[in-house]
Structures are given as structure tokens and as C-alpha cells.
């Protein structure tokens, strides 16, 4: 018999009985050795019979955890079996529940975590210790506000076949109920105390403790004891005041009827409790928002970069297309002789790509198409001085040098043409036509040997026979073999199907006629084949005819015939003037032709017109002076002659000649004028 004052094992002095439960009677005792209070629990007799004292004593003594009481001893006495554990000052949760005490969410969470840690410790023992009797009465709240999970002896007594149990109604897991089998029936007149046979047909595991812990906290949160019968605990509603959904969901998951739907381990439970902030739906929503924001916007930004890069590339492509379109349009305008439109389009193209050679080449073509080789030369020189066209291909640059060479050639500046053709063939060695014109320019510059050498190279490159004949003709002409030259020109014309080459060959042939004084052959050839020529060459051919007629007028002693040829020349020159600007020489020739017809008025008109075009050219004034002298010379009465106007033109011409003299020499026109002045002075015709 245990009474107050009883000393067990000479160590534990019983102070008072503080409780009795399914597992046995509990006493507060004093440890005489350690001088501290302890709890002595007398295990019920029917349990004691099945406990393996030595083994379980060792297990209990070895349990050390901050949320479990420390077990000191395990005593087997005739009075029964006793376990000695720490005395935990404080109250168990059922005391608080009895008073309907409402705990805060923070407290609930705090204790739930501590309980989970205690369970992790128990379940991690070998063999795992399943408490199997977790309920508010077995959770003490210490004076420090922590929990202490007590009364886990039952777990040690669970055997496959036993009439003992610790199935606390409402807190026991559904699977614990499966192990209970009623062994008595209610009888009339006798208070019925149900008794059960307990076995372990359904083995308990960690999930059973998790259920009981969940049921305990269900009670703490709702202040309603879980249903006593083994059925589903109704889920705590999400709207339970004072608690967040997340915690409610955790507790609801702990109390699922089907163990497979609960947390499978206490560690899993603890993980969720520790991460409860992350599981909170507000936190999830916030994280989702951040994820969306940090994913969607960067994706949009990356897309925007791709879009911009694509746009940049497309812009480049579009600019190139617009540029090419503009150049093509300008080229078409040139072909259609819409020169102003062409020039404007080329200039716009230059604005688009200032370092692309195409529009500059187009401008050169525009000038040469109009026969304005002077402008072409000036433009070509300026362009090459200002641009390097490094981004263009050698072939494109070769084409530019070639067209510039052609302009020089047409201007009869053959040395310069040779320079440009040299550049051309250095940039593009594959075009035999470059070599052909290079050889012709060399021949005209009297570099006959070099011309032959270049012709050889052109021949090796596959120069056509018509072109070879053309070059041979020029070489023959340069060597004064005019008959050979004429023969080669005719050969070139006969062999060629190239319109351009045929036109050139005819003009070069006429040039040969001109140099050899065969004016009739020249005029006959041009008259017969005029229809073959393009606009520019038509103009050149007419000028050649005009010059031939003028030469015939010069060489004819007969006045009537002279006038006739001069009139033909005048008609042709005026025709050419209608076709576009003409050279200074041609205008002088026109004035001369008028003189042959004694039409001094028109002659003066032509020269006065030239003053506007060449205001600083001494030759124009000299020519005017000569015309004036000739006009005065027509007056038979010497005393009636007035050389005042002549003197004015002379002075102007001399003044300009002083500033414009090239290499200190005067032109033939100036010399002729000075000779006339001398004659006038000698004859004292000049009036003071």
C-alpha cells in the first residue's frame, strides 16, 4: 500500500497522489538523493505483468529530449512496478481546456512544432516508440511556456495480444479503434463499464501519433472535444476565427481518417510547420506574383530586344532596298533622258548611302549620256577626291574609273584617260573591254608599243575580233598607216554586232577621214549611217560634218562655193546647238562660218553669247577683237574704219591673258589678235 511518506527504494519519498489514469496512479515524490521533486507512476497491475522491466527501463532511461520528461528509474517492487520521471511544474492542456481557455495561433504553432520535434525523437528510436496516447492531458505546459509530452509508457506495453489499452476516446487514431474488441455486454441493474480486448492486428505507426496530436490541437483550436466514436473528425472550417487557413489545413491533414492522407512522418509535419509562412496562401500569391513579374517582364524584355534587333536588321535591309530602288529609278530616268529627275534621284541616293559608289557612277553615266564629258570629268575627279569607296568591290570601283577614263577620252585628254584605264585594269583584270579601251587610249597618246602589249593581254582574255580590229585600226592610225586603219575600222564594223562598237568604229573612221582631208568620204559615211548613232554620237557626227564643211569652205578659193559650204556648216552647227551645249571650239567655228558668209552680226552674236559662258576667257575677247578687225577691214575707205571697239576687246583680252596665261605662252587666237594689233598700229589706223 502506497501512502504519503512511503519511501520507495530508499530514494523516493511519496508526497501525495496527483492523478490516476488509464496507465496507472501518479504520485508526486521527493528524490532524497537529488533533493528534488519527481513523479512516481505506479503502472497498473495488468500492464506490469507484461512489461519487460530490464529492456524497457533501459529504453526509458536513455530518452533525453527537451520536450520529454527525463526518466530516472524503473522500479519493480512487490507493491508494483514504478517509473520515476521528472516532475514538471505547470499544467496539462486539459486543465486549460476545462477552463475554456482560448490560445493564440502563435502559441498553438509554437507547441505544435515542439510536439512534432518530440515525436520525431520518439519515432526515431530503435525500435520506434509510438506514444499512442497523445491527448491534452498528456501535454504539460511548463512554466517556461514549452510543452512536455508525458506518459509514453503505454507505447512500451503494446503487444500483439493484450487486454490493456490506452485508447483515449476522441484522440485515439481510427486504426487504434480497430485493435479494440468488446469483451462484455451491458446487464440490467449493473452499471456498465465496457471492457475491451486489445490486440495489435492493426500495427500502429507514426501516423497514429500524428492523428492524436492533430486531434489534440483540433480541441485546442476549436475548444470542442473531437467525436468520441472512431469516425471522421469534421474538418476545422477555414473561417475559424483567430487562425489562418494554413494552420487549419495542417491540423486537418493530421486528422485525416485514412493514414495515407495524413503526414507520413513527424518530420514531414515539422517541415510544414516550419515553412508555414511559405505555405500561407498570401505568401504563395506574393511569390507567384513575383515569379510572374520576374519571368513575364524579362521575357517581354528579351522579346523586345529580339524585336529591336530584327527591326534594326530589317531597317538596314529596307534602307538597302530603298537605295537600290532609288538608283534603279535614276538609271531608268537617265535611259529615258529625264536627266533632272535622274540627278535628283541620284543625289537622294547619295544622301542615303554617301559612301556607296552606285549613285556617283550613275551621275557619271548621266553626264556622259548627255555628252557632257567636261562635267563628267570634273564630277569624277571631285568624287574621287572626296570618297574612297572602300566598302565597294574592286569591280564597282573599276567601273567608275572606266567611265571616268571614257569621259577623258571623249574630251580627247588621252593621257588622263590612260591614267584612269590603268586604275581600271588594276582593279578588274577580267574584263577584256577595259583593256581594249586602255589600248585605244594608249594608241591615241602615241604609246603604240604599250598599246600593242595591252592588246595582247586583251586578246588573251578573250577580246572579240571586232574589238581587236578596232584597236588595230587605232594602232595603225597612230603609226600613220591610214589605209590600214580605214581597213581595220571597216573590218570592225563588218564583224561586229555590237551597236556601240559599230558607232564608235564609224566615228573613228570619220576621224581618220577628217585627219586625211577626205571630207567627202566623211560626210558621205555620216550621212549614210546617221540613223545608227545614238543622240550623243549623232551630235558628234554632225559636228564632224560641220567641221568638214567648214574645212571645205576654208580650202575653197571660190567665193560662192565657200559661202555654200559655210552655210552648210552653219546649219549643222545650229542643229547641234539645238541638241545641247557645244564646245568652245565649235562655237568659234560657228562664228568663223558666219564670217565666211559675211554675216558679222550673227558671228558677233555667237561670240557675245560666249562671253556670258566664258567671262574670263581671253580667247573669246580676242576672237571678238579679230571679228571686229575683219569687219572694219571690209570698209574700203580706210579713214572710215573705226578700231575703237577692236581696241576695247584687245585690252580686255590682254588683261585676261595676263592672269590666265598657261606656262607663260599665249594661245594662237591671242597671237593672231596681237599680230592684227601690230598691223593696225603700223598703219596708224588706231585713232587717238
Amino acid at each position: 500500500m502506497i501512502t504519503q511518506g512511503t519511501v520507495l527504494k530508499n530514494t523516493y519519498q511519496i508526497m501525495e497522489m496527483i492523478g490516476a489514469g488509464g496507465g496507472g496512479t501518479i504520485y508526486k515524490a521527493y528524490h532524497l538523493g537529488l533533493k528534488k521533486f519527481v513523479v512516481v507512476k505506479r503502472v497498473k497491475d495488468n500492464w506490469a505483468s507484461i512489461m519487460d522491466s530490464e529492456k524497457e527501463a533501459a529504453i526509458i532511461k536513455n530518452l533525453k529530449h527537451q520536450y520529454l520528461p527525463q526518466a530516472y528509474d524503473f522500479i519493480r517492487l512487490p507493491e508494483g512496478i514504478f517509473t520515476v520521471i521528472d516532475y514538471i511544474p505547470g499544467y496539462s492542456l486539459d486543465k486549460y481546456l476545462f477552463k475554456q481557455y482560448r490560445f493564440t495561433q502563435q502559441q498553438i504553432l509554437h507547441w505544435l512544432k515542439q510536439a512534432a520535434e518530440a515525436l520525431i525523437y520518439l519515432h526515431s528510436q530503435q525500435p520506434p516508440i509510438i506514444h499512442s496516447d497523445i491527448k491534452p492531458a498528456n501535454i504539460m505546459i511548463t512554466t517556461q511556456g514549452n510543452i512536455c509530452l508525458i506518459d509514453f509508457n503505454v507505447s512500451l506495453t503494446s503487444t500483439p495480444d493484450s487486454t490493456i489499452n490506452a485508447t483515449s476516446r476522441g484522440y485515439a487514431s481510427p486504426e487504434q479503434y480497430l485493435n479494440l474488441h468488446p469483451i462484455n455486454q451491458p446487464q440490467p441493474g449493473i452499471p456498465f463499464v465496457p471492457q475491451y480486448h486489445f490486440d495489435m492486428t492493426t500495427p500502429l505507426d507514426a501516423r497514429s501519433d500524428i492523428y492524436s496530436l492533430g486531434a489534440t490541437f483540433y480541441h485546442l483550436m476549436t475548444l470542442q472535444r473531437p467525436p468520441r466514436m472512431p469516425e471522421h473528425i469534421p474538418e476545422i472550417p477555414d473561417t475559424l476565427e483567430g487562425f489562418d487557413e494554413t494552420l487549419i489545413h495542417i491540423v486537418n491533414k493530421m486528422t485525416r481518417y485514412d493514414p495515407r492522407e495524413r503526414y507520413q512522418t513527424a518530420q514531414e509535419l515539422l517541415n510544414d510547420l516550419q515553412n508555414i509562412r511559405k505555405l500561407d496562401k498570401r505568401s504563395i500569391a506574393q511569390r507567384r506574383s513575383r515569379l510572374i513579374c520576374n519571368t513575364v517582364f524579362p521575357i517581354i524584355m528579351a522579346g523586345a530586344i529580339v524585336m529591336s534587333v530584327a527591326g534594326y536588321l530589317t531597317m538596314g535591309q529596307e534602307a538597302e532596298e530603298a537605295f537600290q530602288e532609288k538608283v534603279t529609278y535614276a538609271d531608268n530616268c537617265t535611259d529615258n533622258q529625264e536627266y533632272e529627275k535622274a540627278q535628283q534621284a541620284y543625289e537622294e541616293a547619295m544622301g542615303m548611302k554617301p559612301e556607296d559608289i552606285s549613285p556617283y557612277f550613275g551621275m557619271m553615266s548621266l553626264y556622259t549620256s548627255q555628252g557632257d564629258f567636261e562635267s563628267a570629268v570634273r564630277y569624277g575627279k571631285d568624287t574621287l577626291a572626296e570618297h574612297s569607296f572602300k566598302d565597294n568591290t574592286d569591280k564597282e570601283r573599276a567601273d567608275f574609273y572606266y567611265i571616268l577614263g571614257n569621259a577623258y577620252f571623249e574630251q580627247e585628254q588621252y593621257e588622263e584617260a590612260v591614267t584612269q584605264y590603268t586604275q581600271t585594269v588594276s582593279l578588274n583584270r577580267k574584263n577584256p573591254e577595259y583593256y581594249r579601251d586602255y589600248a585605244i587610249a594608249l594608241a591615241r597618246s602615241a604609246y603604240v608599243a604599250k598599246a600593242k602589249e595591252i592588246l595582247e593581254e586583251a586578246h588573251d582574255l578573250g577580246l572579240e575580233n571586232d574589238s581587236v580590229a578596232l584597236v588595230n585600226a587605232e594602232i595603225a592610225f597612230a603609226e600613220n598607216r591610214t589605209e590600214d586603219a580605214i581597213s581595220y575600222f571597216r573590218k570592225a564594223i563588218d564583224q561586229s554586232s555590237n551597236e556601240n562598237l559599230i558607232q564608235r568604229a564609224y566615228l573613228y573612221l570619220c576621224r581618220t577621214y577628217q585627219k586625211t582631208g577626205k571630207y567627202d568620204d566623211l560626210i558621205d559615211t555620216i550621212t549614210t549611217h546617221e540613223s545608227l548613232f545614238n543622240t550623243y554620237r549623232k551630235k558628234v557626227s554632225k559636228l564632224m560634218c560641220a567641221e568638214a564643211d567648214l574645212s571645205k569652205a576654208e580650202n575653197t578659193p571660190e567665193a560662192n562655193r565657200q559661202k555654200l559650204f559655210a552655210e552648210k556648216a552653219i546649219d549643222l552647227y545650229n542643229e547641234v546647238r539645238q541638241m545641247g551645249p557645244v564646245s568652245k571650239t565649235s562655237q568659234f567655228n560657228l562664228a568663223t562660218a558666219y564670217e565666211y558668209t559675211n554675216d558679222f552680226t550673227h558671228a558677233e552674236e555667237v561670240l557675245t553669247e560666249m562671253v556670258k559662258t566664258y567671262p574670263n576667257d581671253p580667247d573669246v575677247y580676242a576672237r571678238l577683237a579679230i571679228l571686229e578687225a575683219d569687219q572694219q577691214g571690209q570698209i574700203k575707205e580706210v579713214s572710215s574704219r573705226d578700231y575703237t571697239k577692236f581696241k576695247e576687246y584687245y585690252d580686255k583680252a590682254e588683261q585676261l591673258n595676263q592672269t590666265n596665261k598657261v606656262n607663260g605662252t599665249s594661245s594662237a587666237v591671242i597671237l593672231q589678235m596681237e599680230q592684227l594689233m601690230q598691223e593696225i598700229k603700223d598703219n596708224n589706223w588706231l585713232k587717238e
Binding site: Q105, D280, R282, Q286, R290, M307, T314, M315
Partner: protein, 46 residues
């Protein structure tokens, strides 16, 4: 306005807008996060 220009300038504008939106949204989310943390400290303890 060519397609290339629309893509190029559109891309730049879109990038700028997305960048501004990213920064602004992050600032707003940071404010919300601070408030949420305070709220959770109240709910679950520090």
C-alpha cells in the same frame, strides 16, 4: 514608317516599358512583402 522602324523603335519602347513595369512591380511587391512579413509575424510569431 517602315516595318523595320516599327520593329526597332517598337522594341525599344516595349523594352523600356517592360523594364519600368519590372522595376515598379518589384517595388510594389517589396512593399507588399514587407507588409506581409509584418502580418505573418503577427500571425505566426517571429
Amino acid at each position: 514608317m517602315t516595318l523595320g522602324m516599327i520593329l526597332f523603335y517598337g522594341g525599344i519602347v516595349l523594352f523600356a516599358l517592360a523594364l519600368i513595369a519590372l522595376v515598379v512591380t518589384n517595388i510594389i511587391l517589396s512593399v507588399i512583402s514587407t507588409k506581409l512579413k509584418a502580418l505573418m509575424d503577427t500571425s505566426y510569431g517571429k
